[in-house]
Symmetry: C2
Subunit: 343 residues, 2 copies
């Protein structure tokens, strides 16, 4: 059975069918109040009968508006980002936006490509979780087009945009101070890209906590790498071969922590008992893994909500002054860090 591709029903056809002008029909789809109830009903009925579907794309083209927004993240397989996405979606869909999603997998090329595509699609704004080596030109390009952009999660030096994130430095400080309080003196910091602002801020918190306790930083206990399970596995291997190995590990993220715990088991060590572990993010899995993971809550869904809110404001008022929202993290203490060190 061959089916002919029927063309879309237009507002013109609806108007004819209902016996009104196209202008009137247009007012009705846009919910104008200056229409008598009788006409409105008649036209809505015609739409239903003809199976009319509003063409938002044509409308946006004519009125120079946009009802889409781009969201670019680095890794959707990371629960942190799927939570952030939920926050963005919830807020933006309420406001009537549709979200174009792109995942960069931390590739700058991919990021540029995605941004171009989104701009070509006339997005009204972009929420960007930038890749580590994002160039300032990337942001400049968007600013020049006067497309509102909100950075989330990672800051870009010199970028002139709204920014929303969590205070990673304070989070790292909380985590490391907690370990120190449990008696640990040799604490490693594993995983994460050392180029990224998110890593640098955590590193700063890590240093600060050590200094406050009068401990020296041993840079051989700081090993960066991909912020993934595999990255955790690789990083912990390096540290375990250390002549004077650590007794506790502060991990860049929960994902890294899971890799670390897995690899510890592989080498016969029991995480939480032979080695204290603290993660970062507080993903749902952190609660259910064994031992349950002490970690820093970074509230990704809330980050998403705030980013969406800022973007919405910025779209409404482009010249609004630049805003920064920095959420305060919280330490969730669980079993992976409870053992007190007794020498």
């Amino acid at each position: 059975m061959k089916r002919k591709k029927q063309s879309r029903v237009t507002l013109q056809q609806v108007a004819e069918h209902a016996g009104v002008s196209r202008a009137t029909a247009s007012l009705i789809v846009r919910n104008s109040p200056h229409i008598s109830e009788a006409t409105r009903k008649k036209v809505l009925e015609s739409m239903r009968e003809l199976g009319y579907v509003y063409d938002r794309v044509a409308a946006n083209l004519r009125s120079q508006r946009s009802s889409t927004v781009g969201l670019i993240i680095t890794d959707i397989a990371n629960t942190f980002f799927s939570e952030l996405l939920i926050g963005v979606h919830q807020t933006l869909e309420e406001e009537g936006y549709t979200v174009l999603l792109g995942t960069t997998f931390d590739s700058d090329t991919k990021q540029n490509h995605l941004l171009s595509t989104m701009l070509e699609h006339r997005v009204g704004g972009v929420i960007l979780c930038p890749v580590s080596e994002t160039s300032k030109e990337t942001i400049d390009r968007i600013n020049q087009l006067d497309i509102p952009i909100v950075l989330a999660v990672r800051e870009l030096p010199g970028a002139n945009c709204d920014y929303v994130s969590v205070d990673y430095k304070v989070g790292a400080e909380m985590a490391v101070s907690h370990l120190i309080q449990k008696g640990h003196r040799r604490i490693a910091f594993l995983g994460g890209r050392s180029e990224s602002s998110t890593w640098k801020e955590r590193a700063q918190g890590y240093y600060d906590a050590l200094h406050q306790a009068g401990l020296e930083v041993d840079s051989s206990l700081v090993v960066d790498g991909p912020p993934t399970r595999e990255g955790g596995v690789a990083a912990v291997q390096q540290v375990l071969n250390h002549p004077d190995p650590p007794t506790a590990i502060f991990c860049f993220s929960d994902l890294v922590a899971f890799g670390v715990m897995q690899e510890l088991r592989n080498t016969g060590l029991i995480p939480g008992q032979d080695m204290a572990i603290v993660g970062f993010d507080n993903v749902p899995e952190a609660e259910t893994v064994t031992p349950s993971l002490t970690t820093v809550s970074s509230f990704p869904r809330l980050i998403g909500k705030h980013a969406a809110g800022l973007l919405h404001e910025r779209i409404a008022n482009f010249d609004h002054e630049q805003q920064r929202v920095i959420l305060q993290p919280e330490l969730a203490i669980r079993n992976s860090s409870q053992q007190v060190v007794g020498k």
Copy 2:
């Protein structure tokens, strides 16, 4: 510093700047081969200088094409769906599509709303992971508009669409047969919405495996519920109060299994030792949880790839005959089911 919203550079302006006609400029942005190298270079240079951004929306409107595709899933926080999303994205972005993402959280209202919005945005097609109680009207509506649609993960009775999924029945059979082989005679089936095709198929596999082993089905060991961690917690509570409790649990999904394991621990039972557990999906966490979870691999990323492939074909050739892709699952045997029952 007030900035005036500058309007978009148009192809017309580019043409004028380069001293060619608008038609020629249009041919160049569309990579037509009938253009001399010199002209092409000149025009591309003008584009760069003026900061031209191709307006794909206007182009699509004129040419009656679409470069977007809708993807509707039920829960992005579920790794199964984020993996599926990755598969869809990878395939579709290669083909030049941009993905509009929507999450229904299993609400029919939300699903209808998302579909409407996507149709209004002129999507070229839709990949739908339908909510459990999707009405046939929902699909009819899309079919009437001649918008290609591919169903993924859940089948809808009577829906006249391409479909891609995993053979859940066979997967469930593998899981339950494995438990029977380990000596279990009382095996519960926990979690999942009993209205959904994905549940029914698993249930069928569960029944079949029991029958093949000459075991009777005890319907009090079958407890449905939300396909989430919380659902697992709730379901296992019911079964633990059973006068003749099971020795093994086949869970609707890994997520349910994690909830089950968590709750077992809460009640003082050791998962994998006091109670054998098998999950479904094989999410990354299944490997790292303790005990590591025996589970059925359902290859969500591959499902996504196939769904995207089918949609792409269907867009290219609307009258192509209806296709079904059913992937074969695999059992990943780990520690949560290794204990042999000795009475």
